[in-house]
């Protein structure tokens, strides 16, 4: 491109992005800033929201063990969900990748398709399957002899983790799948020709190479699980609160908006820090090998 054209086009990208930029500043950045501000406002049963700058809500979250317990529960569920998806999703992606063409794309569709199906519908499915002590899942597990007495799934963390893992599974499979696509198709043959058995190939050749995929999948699953709303709300009911459902209650039931805003702001900050931190860690760890 000539220097003249370059000069003339210097303003073009800004002209093209300006509408979207205005939109994002106007109805994304400003509302977010307002929410952070809101978390410093005061609130009372009768006086409503008072636009002052106090640390009352933050102090309450920091001192009341109820919030510590709730955040700990939120992250515990997110971590267990992440582990479950990694432990099951990574092998599944590997098995999928070894299938022949037509089966591969069919099952990929079956496993990734739910990603686009309503979370409410999917969670409802689990609620139906769990359905109290004589739900289908318990009946099946007991007839298989896996368990002797029914496990309570509804309104428990176990149920939340299972349903969340199902909702998040496509993200993990996708992420590991993408890592597997970058593998040299001959890499297993190469290892085998050098005398490596199947276990050694998986442990020494495949695992180290798909690890970045597992980790980036884990980050996605973790951050989505920690901020999930529909699944904890339906499976957990009103008793078992996580950060998202608590914020919802503060806003729409208790009407203590400033406190809800503080919970939401804390969740946002915690997640952003965790995601950015672990991304940086992964990038540094694998910088040498994967560019």
């Amino acid at each position: 491109m000539s220097a003249v054209a370059e000069e003339r086009n210097a303003r073009a990208p800004w002209a093209l992005t300006a509408p979207a930029l205005m939109l994002f500043i106007g109805v994304l950045l400003i509302p977010l800033a307002m929410t952070v501000m809101l978390s410093f406002h005061d609130w009372g049963q009768y006086k409503g929201i008072e636009p002052v700058f106090i640390l009352k809500n933050w102090r309450e979250i920091a001192t009341d063990p109820y919030y510590a317990e709730m955040f700990w529960r939120t992250f515990r569920i997110a971590i267990l969900t992440t582990l479950l998806t990694a432990l099951l999703g990574a092998p599944e992606a590997y098995i999928l990748n070894r299938m022949s063409g037509r089966w591969k794309s069919f099952f990929l569709l079956v496993i990734l398709g739910p990603l686009l199906i309503s979370v409410v519908a999917r969670t409802l499915g689990w609620a139906l399957l769990f359905g109290g002590n004589n739900g289908l899942v318990n009946k099946l597990l007991m007839s298989l002899g896996v368990i002797h007495s029914p496990i309570p799934f509804m309104f428990t963390e176990t149920g939340m983790v299972v349903a969340l893992a199902h909702v998040m599974m496509p993200f993990m499979v996708l992420s590991v799948w993408a890592a597997l696509q970058r593998l040299d198709p001959q890499i297993e043959n190469a290892a085998m020709s050098l005398g490596a058995g199947p276990i050694t190939i998986i442990r020494r050749i495949i695992m180290p190479q798909i690890m970045p995929g597992v980790l980036s999948g884990a980050i996605i699953v973790f951050s989505l699980s920690a901020s999930a709303f529909a699944t904890p709300a339906i499976i957990g009911g009103r008793r078992l609160k996580v950060a998202a459902t608590l914020a919802y209650d503060e806003f729409l039931n208790t009407l203590n908006w400033p406190l809800g805003a503080a919970v939401a702001t804390l969740l946002l900050i915690a997640l952003v820090l965790i995601v950015i931190g672990s991304n940086a860690l992964i990038e540094r760890r694998y910088a040498e090998v994967f560019r």
Partner: protein, 346 residues
């Protein structure tokens, strides 16, 4: 005595026969090339030797032992893949050491052999480098060192040079040949590049559509192609339609206005194959007209329209005057330079 022997090997995928009736004896220390266009079954054959595919029929023996009964991990063959298939999460030294580790070679011994192998391929000092940070040529050398360090009974090379640029490819060809001569490992190279096959191998196996067209030394396959396919595939060639007249005395072979005493055996319609560099301009012979004349440095390339169809002539640039475009010429060659095949009369 045959070191590696393929006995009527065939491979079918469903109804499709990819390799058929493949028989070959390889002597110890020999360098063999499987040469042919893509899809001719050469890589499939290599993968059957390596054990990544099982032959549908036939036997593969190494020193008389049935190789197909041995798991690929236990065959002890060294393989260099077209993509190199280096382990990206391991350094060059770790890559080379992997095979030794699998064989339980002690650590100290391992380090020494890895260093020696890397030095042999000219990569001393690159031990800790990761493959992604190496050039294509360097990766290729690591792959070679990794395959050779386990002292393989046979070295299998699957288009190892096809991802390198022309200059580097030539350098690696020479180096590969030298290394193979020095350590004397029996080697099988799969390639679609006739120059590579000719400059590296002791013998070439020319393949087409799953079948062996010809097995011979590079000279044999070039000078005396056994089929039209071989003569077309190995360099440029001219095919002229001619006939043998056994009623004349003595019998004569005639192609247009060129003729020679007929060789024994054939009769009727034939095809005369002659390499372009073996054709000269003379007083008598096939009458032709020069269409284009291209100067190519050390030689001239002429495209002619002859009475037997288009013809290509290559003349060394020895400083003598060459005919100009549009000039009428006569094409002549020595009878011993041509190969004659029967032609199905149309």
């Amino acid at each position: 005595m045959a070191y590696l022997e393929l006995d009527r090997v065939a491979k079918q995928f469903g109804a499709q026969t990819v390799v058929d009736d493949f028989s070959l004896s390889v002597g110890k220390g020999e360098f063999i090339s499987f040469l042919g266009p893509s899809g001719c079954g050469k890589t499939t054959t290599l993968q059957m030797i390596a054990g990544f595919l099982d032959p549908t029929r036939g036997a593969i023996r190494l020193e008389g032992k049935d190789l197909t009964a041995i798991h690929p991990a236990k065959r002890g063959l060294g393989i260099v893949f077209q993509s190199y298939a280096l382990f990206p999460h391991m350094s060059a030294a770790e890559n080379v050491a992997f095979g030794l580790e699998m064989r339980g070679v002690p650590r100290a011994d391992r380090a020494e052999r890895v260093r020696a192998a890397l030095a042999m391929v000219g990569l001393a000092g690159y031990e800790d480098r990761h493959p992604r940070r190496m050039s294509g040529g360097q990766q290729q050398r690591v792959a070679l060192a990794r395959a050779l360090v386990i002292k393989p009974s046979v070295l299998l090379l699957d288009e190892p040079l096809s991802n390198l640029d022309a200059k580097l490819r030539e350098e690696m060809q020479i180096e590969l040949r030298q290394i193979q001569r020095t350590i004397g490992t029996t080697t099988i190279l799969v390639t679609h590049d006739q120059n590579e096959a000719m400059s590296l191998s002791d013998r070439i196996v020319v393949m087409s559509q799953g079948r062996i067209e010809q097995i011979g030394t590079p000279q044999e396959t070039y000078e005396k192609p056994a089929s039209a396919f071989v003569s077309q595939f190995l360099g440029k060639t001219n095919d002229f339609a001619g006939s043998i007249d056994r009623t004349a005395t003595p019998p004569r072979l005639v192609a247009g206005s060129w003729s020679a005493p007929a060789p024994a055996g054939l009769n009727g319609a034939i095809t005369v194959s002659i390499r372009p560099e073996r054709i000269g301009f003379g007083e008598a012979g096939l009458s032709a007209k020069i269409v284009t004349r291209i100067f190519q440095g050390n030689h001239w390339l002429f495209q002619c329209e002859s009475e037997c169809g288009p013809a290509i002539v290559i003349r060394q640039n020895d400083g003598t005057a060459q005919p100009a475009e549009g000039e009428a010429v006569r094409l002549a060659w020595r009878p011993e330079d041509m190969s004659v095949r029967a032609r199905a009369s149309a």
